[in-house]
């Protein structure tokens, strides 16, 4: 299952799509028609939220849980942000594989969601070498 917020997060997820082309990706994004320019016709819209919208976040969690339970993914990959983090945590809870790719926009420090994800995701990538620690936080490349 491939989850992200709209805008740059989704663009980065799409740039990495060849990584899972041999699997059966199920996409979820906070923008319902995000898949159209990429020829993706099946995409699950999910509610958007960020750290400044606590009420929206709390209301969104049941929707994320419902979708996760309906899909029952064997793996979750996300480029962020907060909605993606919830799916990563749900993957962790259910034993599904979880992979987080921190946005290339964050080259000086991790995002808040990324920081949390770095403690839970099975594999955690950053896209700036300066942020890697070679142990839990890995740098292997970047979308640009």
């Amino acid at each position: 299952m491939c989850v992200s917020s709209s805008g740059g997060h989704w663009q980065e997820l799409m740039a990495l799509a060849p990584a899972w082309q041999d699997r059966k990706p199920v996409y979820a994004c906070t923008q319902p028609d995000a898949g159209l320019p990429f020829g993706i016709t099946e995409l699950h819209p999910i509610p958007d939220c960020n750290r400044n919208t606590l009420a929206k976040f709390l209301r969104a969690i049941p929707a994320y849980v419902r979708l996760f339970r309906a899909i029952r993914p064997s793996a979750v990959v996300s480029t962020g942000a907060l909605p993606g983090l919830v799916f990563i945590l749900l993957a962790k809870l259910t034993g599904a594989r979880s992979v987080w790719i921190e946005s290339i926009a964050n080259c000086e420090r991790l995002s808040m969601c990324g920081y949390v994800a770095s403690h839970f995701a099975d594999v955690f990538f950053v896209q700036a070498a300066e942020l890697a620690d070679g142990k839990r936080i890995l740098y292997t490349g970047s979308v640009i």
């Binding site: 740059g8 663009q11 898949g35 490349g141 979308v143 640009i144």
Partner: protein
């Protein structure tokens, strides 16, 4: 036509108002994607947030994109071969939660086709330039390496 976008999360009145003034002074046709109810344009055309396909069509029609310093717009500009002018949002003005846009702008300022501006004056000066070049990203080896690593991570 100049196409201006500022992302989906927060309004960016400093950039929008600068563009409105510039359109009035220069007569340049500027189309702005904005959902900010407080932005009352006098000279620019506003459009609401557009679907992926309609957004792409507008990008294809424009001669230059003006945007906040977001990764998505950089990738969009490269996909459609358009010049890109970016104005980073500033945290101290309440335009974003942190200053990662300024860091992004610094990091990609030398990409061919990207011009970073910080003020309305710099924005106007750049928009008056006739021969802005399109964004080109030499991205493949770093992207391929990350793709390979993600494939391995998913196994």
């Amino acid at each position: 036509m100049i196409f201006a976008v500022a992302g989906t999360q927060l309004p960016f009145p400093r950039m929008m108002n600068a563009l409105d003034d510039i359109a009035g002074r220069t007569g340049l046709r500027i189309v702005v994607q904005s959902a900010d109810p407080h932005f009352t344009p006098r000279n620019v055309e506003t459009v609401p947030f557009m679907s992926g396909v309609k957004f792409d069509e507008t990008v294809i029609d424009c001669r230059v994109i003006v945007a906040h310093a977001g990764i998505g717009v950089m990738m969009t500009a490269e996909t459609h071969g358009k010049p890109l002018i970016i104005m980073p949002r500033r945290a101290d003005l309440g335009e974003h939660r942190n200053d990662h846009q300024e860091a992004t702008a610094r990091r990609f300022a030398d990409v061919p086709g990207i011009t970073v501006v910080h003020t309305a004056e710099e924005l106007e000066e750049t928009l008056r330039e006739p021969d802005l070049q399109p964004v080109t990203l030499a991205s493949t080896p770093r992207r391929e390496a990350l793709i390979a690593a993600v494939t391995k991570a998913l196994d």
